[in-house]
Symmetry: C2
Amino acid sequence: MKKLSSTPKKDGFRMPGEFEAHEGCWMLWPERTDNWRLGAKPAQAAFVKVAEAIAEFEPVTMGVSARQYDNAVNHLPDCVRVVEMSNDDSWVRDTGATFVTNDDGVVRGVDWEFNAWGGLVDGLYFPWDQDDRVAQKICGVERKDFYKADGFVLEGGSIHVDGEGTLYTTEECLLSESRNPHLSKQEIEEKLGEYLGIEKVIWLKRGIYNDETNGHVDNIMCVVKPGTIMLAWTEDKNDPQYEISMENLKLLENETDAKGRKLEIIKMMLPKPILISKDESGGVDMVDGTLPRDEGDRLAASYINFYIANGGIVYPLFNDPNDTLAEETLRRAFPDRKLIGIEAREILLGGGNIHCITQQQPASKLSGDGTN
Amino acid sequence: MKKLSSTPKKDGFRMPGEFEAHEGCWMLWPERTDNWRLGAKPAQAAFVKVAEAIAEFEPVTMGVSARQYDNAVNHLPDCVRVVEMSNDDSWVRDTGATFVTNDDGVVRGVDWEFNAWGGLVDGLYFPWDQDDRVAQKICGVERKDFYKADGFVLEGGSIHVDGEGTLYTTEECLLSESRNPHLSKQEIEEKLGEYLGIEKVIWLKRGIYNDETNGHVDNIMCVVKPGTIMLAWTEDKNDPQYEISMENLKLLENETDAKGRKLEIIKMMLPKPILISKDESGGVDMVDGTLPRDEGDRLAASYINFYIANGGIVYPLFNDPNDTLAEETLRRAFPDRKLIGIEAREILLGGGNIHCITQQQPASKLSGDGTN
């Protein structure tokens, strides 16, 4: 498909909110044994549950390496489309295309530069060349033209948008020296504006405590609808997370979005701290150059890391008393969507959660030849 | 997608003729250096020309390994969709799905067992496990349910159909001990009937002289339209091909098709014998277990090995005086189609031609959710 040399903003395209209509959802099958314990089998079982849940609401496509193709096909339900797609790990939120649309319902991709959350500075593994081709390959399968954001490092999980001109991100990630140290804060805002049709960037400070992604926004905050956001919260003042959430709350309370709206902020209570067990750590291959999964390390668990599907919410459960509270919070925030909770510890152990392993493809209006 | 346990015939499906309307065309990118000379670069250039020509008439998708993904994308025009698809070689006619349709315009795949043209008896390379997954992967990308013809070895190039109940094949291939030695001729006819909606099988004896596929029918004969076939021909009585073509001619002159029609037979003159040169042989890796490309070996060159696209014919040229005659023959046989000839020696050197490296996907009527 065509690699476009213009930018989405120039061509009249914008990134829609995740709560807008989807064509479907992309996922990638986990397999690397230096990140997922026990040959990735427990994680694969959890990914199957996520795919099944989302498939209740919209078509799901699972990308998988040639090595794991048969295994993925045999574990997934027939309704999930499986396509071969090499990758270095399964975080399609970060490696997949970010889709943009225009008023005619044409959908195009944005292919960011990907460096495994920090490249040679503080990246999580090496190499990441197959990850960096995922966005283009998704656009290929879907016959979508795409914009290549050459020289601009971004992961999809480090941004959230309201579809009406506002983008939310964290300084911890986007201003990290391991992403785009050659660009000023203002230049980064300009890039986000050009590639996503954004008018205003709202900067949170830091993401969830000990998040290995340099504080991706999608683990600490999300957009419920334009003007309404959900923020990860704790009342435990002894938790280092308290200061982070409080700092972001104060910032957001004093912000207005691109349309000039004050923000309604819904607090989402976090689960109690979750640590990697000895057994869990022992199930992961120890490989130089890959972030280790050490016993006792605190995981960046957060209910915010859910996926908004057509008519549904697929969210993580942690076998924690706050699981019920999370459900109640989601029910109030999304009264018209069906809620499906998935036991997500095995996904969390790999370093992210349901939002990180999914990527929505917005609905399009098909043109005559099936391309658009 | 769903692996169906019924058969196409039971479900009311049939294989349409290649001359019927297509949704598009599948190809696979050549790369194996023990079959394609000079790192497969000359073959890749020829495949690009074939893809470009077919793309004038219908959408083309090129499957390519992860290794060659960038290179394929960078050589192919934007209009050709590129998808990752592991394979052992690029003969999608033989490894791809054979598509069947029903009266409602639903399209499904048939996934034959593939054994590299003869398995451990006289197969052309080892292993062939990635080839054997190509059909299923194509159906996956296209969201088509498919029938798995378990235990029945067949290559798409070993059959031609008229879409009205008649199938043409060769005894040399389908009765070879390297395909389905456990099945009688009658049992093979029953399999073809069940999986392709066939009423009558017409058996030619042998295919083109020295054809390494055990005489695939698609190199010696094709169906122009129901009741009209084209047969590879030579007037040179000293050529071993003469006896083969004459034997088939006599058979066909005395046959009627599934509808009871006598056959109109158009003779297509072959090019003069084409031998592998020393240079050409020297450019191919010498690997144990892969059919060698020896200097002086006669290639199975035939103009019959063309592709029928929507409104077009893409056919091979051999830099032979009969190139012009081939064009004239095609113009008379297909007066309403645009003819595009492609210099095809580099494809021929790999063991086949344009029909062998293409697979049509018949037109479908899309249902509401894009699947059918």
